[in-house]
Amino acid sequence: MNPITADRRHFEDLALGEVIGLGQITVTKEMIVSFAREFDPFPFHLDEEVAKKSLLGGLASSGWQTAALTLRLLTDAFLNQIASAGGLGFSDLKWKRPVMKNDSITGSAKIIELRRSQHHPQWGVLTIEIDIHNQRNQPVMSMKLANLVETRTPDLIAHEQPAQPYDVETGHKS
């Protein structure tokens, strides 16, 4: 067993429909400029005067920064509490509204799918739907994220599960 994740919630401990509340983070000018300088150096993410004249109407975070900060909220509230075995990717990411300087963002994550891996019995696939809003309760971003989670019963091979009850420990029909 993996000593790092042994005491965490495993795949079997997760419930469909479970909602995880995320923490809150305030996005400062320094955070916006420092992320933009490294990953999204458009003048309207770097310079307040340019930003005021842009479509965004003021200094706003890169959409990718909003996504990265969401990942941080998710890691703190959830991924570091479960036996996460890494992300598989994400889908339907929508940037709905810019996050302006000094906005605070928070949100929730809901478990919308739990599926045991067919080929890797040591893992299950967890899909969560994430909704993020600002301090005025306006939607900012949403996405679906898929993550691998360690199972407690890696010896159980999903496609070999018999219809009859059987002993999980030995794998033999009881």
């Binding site: 790092i4 990953f39 479509l55 990265a68 890691t75 996405m143």
Partner: protein, 186 residues
């Protein structure tokens, strides 16, 4: 794309360049945005099924975005050098799909490329076209690192605004009246 909508060729590969990931930057990104034990040093990454430190998938993706920003700026300079006026790209609207395919370890070099797989003029944003962008990343062994499909915008060069819209725009520029006419953002 910093090309006019009309000049974008479907399925033409547009190279975005490469990036080599160091252990220090992998850990720095993870400390800020994705502090899971297999993205950090001294937290037992060797116990994960990766067998050691790997970069956050999101780190690899935002680095790809940076490479795209740089490549488009270079393309803009190239077009200006040829005496042409470059096109204009709009903000990203979203990501349809992002699949992480293999982990990135310290010292790995990731090479990124962009292909536009579909384009059509926007119905809701007159003068702009909607692009389906495919961004893919491979490592130094040619193994796929990620594949993504994103929605982007590019300006139309040959667009002539219909008279109806020109009148509406002129009216929205009148102080007070503009607020009433401009469609509310949902």
């Amino acid at each position: 794309m910093t090309r006019w909508f009309e000049d974008i060729t479907i399925d033409e590969a547009f190279p975005l360049g490469s990036h080599t990931f160091t252990e220090a930057e992998i850990v720095r990104f993870a400390e800020d945005y994705d502090p899971q034990y297999f993205h950090l040093v001294g937290t037992g990454a060797e116990h994960s099924h990766f067998g050691g430190l790997i970069a956050s998938g999101w780190h690899v993706v935002v680095t790809g975005h940076r490479k795209m920003v740089d490549a488009l700026a270079a393309e803009e300079d190239r077009l200006r050098g040829l005496g042409q006026q470059p096109g204009e790209s709009g903000p990203g609207a979203g990501v349809n799909q992002m699949e992480f395919k293999s982990p990135v370890r310290p010292g790995d070099t990731v090479t990124y490329a962009l292909q536009v797989s579909a384009k059509r003029p926007s119905n809701s944003l007159p003068g702009w076209g909607i692009l389906t962008n495919q961004i893919s990343a491979v490592n130094q062994r040619g193994e796929p690192v990620y594949h993504s499909e994103l929605i982007g915008f590019s300006k139309l060069r040959d667009f002539k605004m219909p008279l109806r819209l020109r009148i509406l725009e002129a009216l929205t520029n009148i102080p007070g009246l503009g607020k009433l006419l401009r469609p509310k953002r949902s």
